[in-house]
């Protein structure tokens, strides 16, 4: 790996001869090695999921929070350097609050995504800062319907039906592409997300699944899925995986 960008990768304000900004690409590597994070935009809402790898057996349950409300109608999940993620979420919350003060209404998903992307991008322009090592997924549900956006470390924002980043992204993207997300409900998506997460999880250490949704059922409020419902969904997902394994081993 070392030697790829030699000489042109010391600063984010330097282009390589073939037009690449290596520091931005290296920031993406930080995301690629983090726990898997999924986003799914369905017909009645949006779902965000994070694979929280066990960093310590002494860690209190639920304390390593990965999903965050941005406003009542919107939320985010971050993948990568979690401290960087917190900074971005803080900014997003500020933008949402500021928009509401100025314009008297909840910030539209596309505007929030643009503002977060602008902010992230700024850190790719100057030599005296480093880019955020974070992919941010933004879920929102307003009068424009449910929307899912992802902002990468370079500050590029795209709108998605389904997206996955992190360690298990290859397998997750594969599974996501098989789903017809536009026809699914968030409830169905929760089960699908749990199944994907358990399937792509890379073995030895355990992980905690964190799910958050904003849907018709939640009254269009962004909420974390509670322990009871989470356990139900995970149990069903694990059972489905086992059943498939049995089928395959016939």
């Amino acid at each position: 790996m070392s030697g790829i960008g030699t000489g042109y990768d010391l600063s984010v304000s330097t282009f390589s001869p073939d037009g690449r900004v290596f520091q931005s690409e290296y920031a993406q590597k930080a995301v690629d090695s983090s726990g898997t994070v999924l986003g799914m935009c369905c017909k009645d809402g949006v779902l965000l999921a994070a694979e929280k790898l066990e960093i310590s057996k002494l860690l209190e349950e639920n304390s390593n929070r990965r999903t965050f409300p941005i406003d009542k109608h919107a939320g985010a999940v971050v993948a990568g350097v979690s401290a960087d993620g917190r900074a971005i979420v803080d900014r997003a919350q500020g933008e949402a609050s500021n928009y509401k003060s100025m314009y008297g209404d909840a910030i539209p998903g596309s505007v929030l995504a643009d503002r977060v992307a602008s902010y992230v991008h700024v850190f790719n322009l100057y030599w005296y800062v480093r880019p955020f090592g974070v992919c941010t997924m933004l879920a929102s549900y307003d009068h424009n319907g449910p929307q899912l956006f992802m902002i990468d470390p370079a500050g590029t924002s795209h709108k998605y039906y389904g997206v996955a980043v992190g360690k298990g992204r290859q397998g997750a993207k594969n599974e996501l592409s098989k789903l017809k997300l536009a026809d699914m409900t968030v409830k169905e998506a929760m089960f699908a997300a749990a199944k994907i997460m358990h399937q792509v999880h890379d073995g030895e250490k355990g992980f905690e699944l964190e799910l958050a949704i904003v849907s018709d059922e939640t009254g269009r409020l962004f909420k974390r899925v509670g322990k009871a419902e989470l356990q139900e969904v995970e149990a069903a997902a694990k059972a489905a995986i086992e059943a498939e394994d049995l089928d395959m081993s016939d």
Partner: protein, 226 residues
């Protein structure tokens, strides 16, 4: 409101301004008199200005202040439209106006924001001096409005049609113009609905006749009504 005695502080729109919401849109109405003291500096002014395609503003108080405010609000609204890539909701435009009004308390501007958006239909927001912003089914401002509060209290009904609402606004302003020396000239109406915007002017015979306790005019060679 009119200056004390002679011309002091520049032109004021003595004014009667009205906006009434109906199911499907709003009707904004205003008189056209601008006075500098007792001199009518403009007898056909336009006190209803556009902030964006679907939101209009009725202005009263200091003409200079309200024109400056509406220029700023139009500018910020246009930036807002660029950012959202959508037609703005009336509440957002009203909110921008509120920021300017509330944070600059030296301004003498009593205004009414009214417009139509698909989310909430026709909406009227009153913005009196001081910068309050409050949504109402109908709003009136200006010196002439004092004479027609009871008229609107009595005559306004929910569920009126566009035509009925226009007649109500016309009648109300005619009443105010009949009693308020600082309101007069022609009546301008602007109707904003999902079908767009229509502007109308009513002058002379088209303005409802307010006789009060005066006798019906007898038309003969010696009597000229208008």
């Amino acid at each position: 409101e009119s200056a004390n005695g002679g011309a002091s502080g520049g032109p004021h729109t003595g004014t009667t301004i009205v906006a009434v919401a109906y199911d499907g849109g709003v009707v904004l109405g205003a008189d056209s008199r601008v006075s500098t003291g007792t001199y009518v500096s403009n007898r056909a002014s336009n006190k209803i200005t556009s902030l964006c395609d679907n939101v209009y503003l009725c202005r009263s108080g200091s003409a200079a202040d309200t024109e400056a405010i509406s220029d700023y609000v139009r500018f910020y609204t246009s930036q807002h439209i660029s950012e959202t890539q959508q037609e703005p909701i009336v509440k957002s435009v009203a909110s921008i106006l509120y920021q300017m009004s509330y944070n600059n308390k030296g301004l003498m501007a009593a205004m009414i924001v009214a417009g139509y958006d698909a989310k909430e239909g026709g909406q009227v927001f009153g913005s009196p001096i001081g910068g309050t912003l409050v949504r109402m089914p109908w709003a009136i401002e200006g010196s002439g409005s004092t004479y027609i509060w009871s008229f609107f209290d009595d005559e306004y009904k929910e569920g009126m049609s566009q035509g009925e609402t226009e007649q109500l606004v016309l009648k109300g302003i005619a009443h105010a113009m009949a009693r308020d020396g600082s309101s007069g000239g022609i009546i301008r109406l602007v109707t904003v609905s999902k079908d767009g915007v229509s502007r109308k002017v009513f002058q002379g015979k088209e303005i409802p006749l307010v006789l009060g306790d005066m006798a019906e005019p007898q038309t003969n060679a010696a009597t000229v009504v208008w």
